[in-house]
Every structure is written in structure tokens, then in C-alpha cells.
């Protein structure tokens, strides 16, 4: 089965859901979310049946635009898994959503259908981004994802925060698109190509203007920096993450970031491989990584809103990921004690998926049943809902990078790469950032375990069966890949 069947199936699934939503009278729209999650789960299983490029020798124009390598497949699975969990979260979140879309009619479920269907289309876009190897293809897939997110971020239209987030995301998204198009134009102007492999060859020959090539790289880096949340293009992240509906925040912070990184990996590869500009590109990446590490971690310290805290944590993790990218060896020579930056980044993003979605799943439950997102809402959670408190404890430990968790291994590889490339300043900043991480992640743990609940008579938080299964599987994943990272290495 060729790899692009997966995207086709996901798009068909989305269209089917739209038709079901419009024509089948559903008693409870939540079944639409289960249906979508089921479909995505099936595609996730199908992704293991996809033929590798060795088996299917493809030629022609299409295969030049579309990679079917292991890297693409890995990020397709990340997109699918994220969407699956986001759909589960959305089903739990529907009450809050309804409160801010149609408060006058408590029985109506109008509008919920779109909220369960749009993530499926976003997923198709994210999967395409993982395979895009042509600048035009990258641009179109990136826009397909961003357009869907514009709608989803501003979905709670009676909530000022959500609207503010939507407007900010729209304006800055449009700005970053402008940078991307301008960068692509320059790159096309100096190389005459839009395919990344062809661009790589032209840049390797070195018969291009160095200034123009660096300018093109800087423009594209700005655009992708917006997507992955690199400093100084991070300023939209805290507000948008805080205002958007919680499942969509999770989607943005995991799915969008992972897809942004795979595009960044693919686009920066020709620049790093070219002897002409390699050292300058590494310097730019190093500076951006250092700034992201410092800003993300230090700005997270004073946060009292848990969702905002996770937004800053998402910036700081982008810093660690960029640190790995900046530690790419110039000639592609990897010493025997190291691993390739591509596998380090991929493993880190997979680990990031497990721990971040774990935190967001618990936060969705607390938000819908305790009614708040500040750290105070988590006070005494260990007494009322010990299982959720333990889950969040594990997520926070992994995010902070405690050994035996997947988060630790991810950070370990990143530091290993940076040390091998003698980026000692970056290592120092990373260590400071990781230490700050321990402080702000454990703030939530302190609230859960050492502080009295706000309302002692509050009932235990109900956890639906699918959510409980998802939580347990994610916890298992955090520990298994924390002990043996090999299955997730590219």
C-alpha cells in the first residue's frame, strides 16, 4: 500500500463524518468523536502496513514532491496519535465548548460536529507536511493545517479569550506565511528549483550568492520559527495557548510543533550540507536555540495559570529541540558515540507527545469538572482523585526530565549531541533551563500533594472509560521508552 493512501483515507474519513453530522440524526454528538477517533485509530494501524520505498519503486513527478521514507512515516504516526487523543479530549471538553458557543439552548448540540470533524482534516494536513519535500508542497500543506487551526482556536465564539487568541493567531499566521513565501521566492530565485533535493545539489556546488542564500534561509527560519515557537517568534504562544479550547491547545503544542520540526529538518538539511553557508546557518540556529531555552524556561517560572505554564514549557522544549538541530555536524559525519540529530529530535518529539498529552488530558478533566485552569484548581487533587494526581505527577516528572522517564532520555540525547559538537554555551543554557524546569513543573505537584483542596466536599472527578485507557497507555509509554528508547529510534 503506498503511503499517500493514508492521507486519502483520513480525508475521506473527514468527509464521511461531515455527511454523517449533516444527514444522520444523532442523539448524542459525542458518538461522532468516538467515530472519528476509531477511524483515526484504524489509519494508525494501517500505517504499519505501508510499503517502504525499497519495496515500491516509484518514479515520476509525484514521488519528487512526496517522501515515503521512515522519517515521514514516523511523523505521520505522531500526527495520527495526537489527533486520536485530541478527539478523546474534545469529547470530554464538549460541555465547556457548548457553554461558550450556544449558551441559550442547553439541549442543542449544534456546532459540536464541526469541532469533532475539523481535527481530522488538520491531521491529513499534518501527515502531508511530514512527507512534503517540495517547497510548494510544504507551503500548501502548512496552509491546510493553519487554516483549520484558525477556525478551531476561535471556536468558543462567546468567549473573549478564545476570540482574542483567534485574531492573534490569524494575524501572526498570515505574517509568518508572508515570510515563508518570500523565503521560497528567494530560494527559487537563486537556485531555480523548488524540490529540496535539487536545491541541495545547487547549494552544494556553491555557485550561488552567499548573502542571498542566507537571506532565504533566515526568512524560512522566521516562518517555521513561528510554527514551532522559537524565540523571538514566540510571542503569540502564551495568549493563543491560553485562549484556545484546551484540546486544541494540546493539538497546537504537539501536532503542529512536530510537523513544524519535520519541515524544519527537511528544509535546513540542504543549507547545513552546503559548505558555503553551513557554519553561518549553524550559528543562526545556535543563537535561536539559546534564546529560546533562556526565555522559555525563565518566563515559565512566575506563571500561575497551568495552561499558560504549559505554553511556556512548550517554548522551552522547542529550545531543546533546536539545540539538537543546531548540533548537526557540518559534513554529516556522526561519531560512533553519538546519534543523528534527526533521530534525537524525533525521539524527543515522541516523548513530548506522551507527556504533554498526559498533562492536557488531566487538565481537560479538571477544567470541565472543577471549573478552573489555574494551579489553584489542582490543590488537593491527590486527596480527591489520586489516580489523576499520580498521572499528572508522572507527566510533570517526564517533562522536567527525571531519569527512567522518556523525557529524560530525550534530553540526554540532546545534551549528548551538543557536547559532541562542543556547543558548551548551549549546554550551559540547557542545564540552567532544565533546572528551572524542575521548579515550575513541580509547582503543580506541590499544589496537588501538599496543599489542602479549595473545596473539601468536591466529588471525585469522573473519568470516562476511553480516557482512562488512554491515560494508562500513555503512562506505560512514558516508562517503557524511558527504559528502552530503541523502538522509537529512526
Amino acid at each position: 500500500m503506498p503511503a499517500y493512501y493514508l492521507e486519502v483515507i483520513v480525508v475521506v474519513l473527514g468527509l464521511t463524518l461531515l455527511l454523517v453530522e449533516a444527514f444522520v440524526p444523532l442523539g448524542d454528538r459525542r458518538s461522532l468523536a468516538w467515530l472519528a477517533a476509531l477511524g483515526i485509530g484504524v489509519v494508525l494501524c494501517l500505517s504499519f502496513l505501508v510499503s517502504t520505498p525499497e519495496q515500491a519503486e516509484e518514479t515520476g513527478r509525484f514521488s519528487a514532491l512526496y517522501a515515503t521514507d521512515g522519517l515521514a512515516l514516523f511523523y505521520k504516526r505522531i500526527a495520527l496519535l495526537t489527533t486520536l487523543l485530541v478527539l478523546l479530549m474534545s469529547a470530554d471538553y464538549r460541555k465547556i465548548l457548548h457553554q461558550y458557543t450556544d449558551p441559550e439552548r442547553p439541549q442543542s448540540q449544534a456546532g459540536l460536529g464541526e469541532f469533532f470533524t475539523l481535527p481530522v482534516f488538520a491531521c491529513a494536513g499534518l501527515m502531508w507536511m511530514a512527507s512534503a519535500t517540495d517547497l510548494i508542497s510544504i507551503f500548501v500543506s502548512l496552509e491546510a493545517v493553519t487554516m483549520t487551526f484558525y477556525v478551531l482556536v476561535a471556536f468558543m465564539r462567546r468567549n473573549v479569550g478564545s476570540l482574542e487568541a483567534g485574531v492573534k493567531y490569524l494575524i501572526l499566521g498570515a505574517l509568518s506565511t508572508g515570510f515563508l513565501v518570500y523565503g521560497i521566492t528567494w530560494l527559487y530565485g537563486i537556485t531555480g528549483q523548488t524540490e529540496l533535493s535539487a536545491i541541495s545539489e545547487v547549494l552544494k556546488e556553491g555557485a550561488v550568492s552567499k548573502t542571498a542564500a542566507l537571506f532565504a534561509f533566515a526568512l524560512i527560519l522566521v516562518a517555521l520559527g513561528f510554527k514551532v515557537g522559537a524565540v523571538p517568534f514566540q510571542f503569540w504562544i502564551p495568549d493563543v495557548y491560553q485562549g484556545a479550547p484546551t484540546p486544541i491547545t494540546a493539538f497546537l503544542s504537539v501536532g503542529s510543533k512536530a510537523a513544524g520540526f519535520v519541515v524544519l529538518l527537511r528544509v535546513s538539511e540542504p543549507f547545513i550540507a552546503s559548505e558555503l553557508i553551513s557554519s553561518n546557518v549553524i550559528t543562526i540556529l545556535t543563537v535561536v536555540a539559546g534564546a529560546t531555552l533562556v526565555y522559555g524556561n525563565l518566563a515559565a517560572i512566575p506563571q500561575n495559570n497551568f495552561k499558560r505554564l504549559l505554553a511556556f514549557s512548550s517554548i522551552s522544549h522547542a529550545g531543546f529541540l533546536l539545540m539538537a538541530l543546531a548540533s548537526t555536524p557540518a559534513g554529516g559525519a556522526i561519531s560512533q558515540f553519538s546519534i543523528s540529530p534527526v533521530s534525537a529530535i524525533s525521539f524527543y518529539l515522541a516523548a513530548y507527545l506522551f507527556m504533554t498529552l498526559l498533562a492536557f488530558l488531566v487538565m481537560t478533566l479538571v477544567r470541565t469538572q472543577r471549573g478552573g485552569e489555574s494551579i489553584d484548581s489542582f490543590r488537593g487533587l491527590a486527596k480527591t482523585s489520586p489516580f489523576l494526581a499520580l498521572t499528572l505527577l508522572i507527566a510533570m516528572m517526564s517533562l522536567a526530565g527525571v531519569p527512567l522517564t522518556a523525557g529524560f532520555i530525550g534530553k540526554f540525547y540532546v545534551f549528548l549531541l551538543a557536547v559532541n559538537q562542543h556547543h558548551y554555551w548551549l549546554v550551559a543554557l540547557g542545564v540552567v533551563g532544565a533546572a528551572a524546569g524542575f521548579y515550575y513543573y513541580l509547582k503543580v505537584v506541590r499544589a496537588m500533594y501538599w496543599e489542602a483542596p479549595e473545596d473539601t466536599s468536591a466529588p471525585a472527578i469522573e473519568v470516562s472509560m476511553p480516557t482512562k485507557i488512554a491515560l494508562i497507555l500513555l503512562i506505560v509509554a512514558v516508562f517503557i521508552f524511558g527504559l528502552d528508547p530503541a523502538p522509537l529510534m529512526l
Binding site: 480525508v11 468527509l15 461531515l18 455527511l19 453530522e21 449533516a22 444527514f23 516509484e58 515520476g60 509525484f62
Partner: protein, 133 residues
Amino acid sequence: MLQEYIPVLLQILIAGGFAAAALILSVIFGKSAARNPTKDSAYECGMLPVGPGQARFSVKFYLVAMLFVIFDIEVVFLYPWAVTFNELAAGAVEKGQNFFSESYAFFWGMTGFLGILFIAYLYALKKGALRWN
């Protein structure tokens, strides 16, 4: 190479210079007479404005506008496709491959695009996007 752009530079300089000169000269030579409300009113320039400047429109206009854009894009894609269809089809037939192979991608691509648009249209119709009460 850059010399080719000198006319553009001159154009910019003249345009900017003319605007600046007009402003500066009017400040120097113009009479700074006392202003009053009558003098500031729209004189021989249409009616005096009545009511607020920002009217509210029904959201239905936006729905119709969005649907228009979608079907406009459909035409934008269909037209060049229809013009080159014979050529593409002849090329595909010459290769003699299966109807579902990559050489027929031009046909399946457009079929998929139209299919997606059709389903979106059904959805909009069912949701009452074209109902106007």
C-alpha cells in the same frame, strides 16, 4: 545589473519629492486663517453624514461571499484543466498504462477535488447556508 533600476529610483524620488513639496509649500505660502465648524464642513462635497459610520451586516452576506469564493476557485482550477484536457488525455493514452496508474493522476486529482467540493456543498446546503429568511 542594478543600473537597470535607476528609472524606478527616479520615479520614487520624484513621487516622494512632489508630495513633500506640496505639503511644505502649502505650509509656507498658505494663509493660516482661523478655522470654524462651517469652514470644516463638507462644502459642495456631498451630503453631511448621518448616523454611525459602521453599519452592521447580516452574517448571511459573509456566508454567501465565502461560498462564492469557493466556487470561484473551482472555476479557476477547472478552466485551465478543461483547456489542456485533450493533451493530457492523449499523453496518458500513449503511455498505455492502467486507468488507475500515475499517468491518469490529472483525471483523478480533479475528480477528487470536485468530489470534496460537492460534499462541502451538500453540507452547506443541509446546514442552511443558502436559506435566506
